[in-house]
Symmetry: C2
Subunit: 197 residues, 2 copies
């Protein structure tokens, strides 16, 4: 959670609002990790954070959203990966971006259990995937602009969609880096490149 402007520069009102939001998010994350997503009700989260259920839903649009707090920077990072790719092809730039991101997350040890929770809970896995694929439009637009194609070019949309889906395909594999090589290699050079079938 990054807040560009310092918290102290906000009025008391915004500060309190942020504070409430944070305590809700904290309570939810803690309870979910302790006992699982489905075993905790919104009522209990609200009670733990010492707010009403109504207030909880004024800050978060759904129960699932309580766990996915940071989103915006992912999209800009994706677009940046395409823009500042320095000679590499777009698929390779995206491959590097994913590998890099996975490495970065590996630092945080708590990220492991967090990810386990999301992957083991169907509601969360679907919600996460939905949020993730929301970036398709922006990514496609960035790709299109980069190669000078119309903003709604089909191939750009397809590449964006495939790259985003690639993450899930790769995450299931034991050796993620090698999986990333193969999957993005497929996007870069195609199925028929080293496959006679």
């Amino acid at each position: 959670m990054r807040y560009d402007r310092a918290v102290s520069e906000l009025g008391r009102r915004e500060r309190k609002k942020l504070q409430t939001r944070q305590s809700i998010s904290d309570a939810a994350t803690r309870l979910f990790l302790e006992r699982g997503f489905d075993a905790v009700g919104v009522k209990e989260i609200a009670d733990t954070a010492d707010v009403s259920v109504t207030t909880l839903f004024k800050h978060f649009p759904s129960k699932e959203a309580l766990l996915f707090d940071e989103d915006e920077q992912q999209e800009s990072a994706l677009v940046a990966a395409v823009r500042n790719r320095e000679g590499r092809s777009i698929p390779m730039a995206l491959r590097d971006h994913f590998v890099q991101a996975a490495k970065g997350h590996a630092d945080h040890p708590q990220f492991e259990v967090f990810q386990r929770l999301v992957l083991d809970t169907s509601a969360l896995r679907e919600y996460g995937h939905r949020m993730w694929t929301r970036h398709q439009g922006a990514l496609a637009a960035a790709i299109a602009e980069e190669i000078g194609a119309p903003a709604d070019d089909v191939r750009c949309a397809a590449l964006a969609r495939f790259a985003l889906e690639a993450r899930d395909v790769i995450f299931d594999r034991p050796d993620r880096e090698r999986a990333a090589d193969e999957v993005f290699g497929l996007l870069e050079h195609g199925w028929s490149a080293d496959q006679q079938a």
Copy 2:
């Protein structure tokens, strides 16, 4: 357990069960098409089909499932498209299969409104997509077997996933056949084939 016996060969019990199931499905489809998915409650569907809500949920696992009745043949059709491809590459065989299927559906005029309903209702669109991507495993296995790769080969899994996702990318476009050419061309020959970027 094989149930390829004709309906008439089933006992009165199974026949009645099938009958109630059908009347529920019919009532749901009719009401949904008439007034929209969200404007019809399960209670009303149950009443229309003259069953209790409990019975309704004994036949269908969710409200969305009421609209998606037949699934099994889609999967076998996908696998068959890969198997009987007669010299064509796998991506091209899948492309042809999709184009063919779209043409086949265009016959049924009621399919247009049905599709509109699904596409305009977020709950249904997501459910449909979830059901559709369930075929990834079977499709990936078929591809792997076809080229003599291990059943869990990453590239096969990726191709399967991408092909399934391709449907949605293509369906948004006005000229679906041309879109299918471009998207599956990307899978077949890769991004770098006719793209220097």
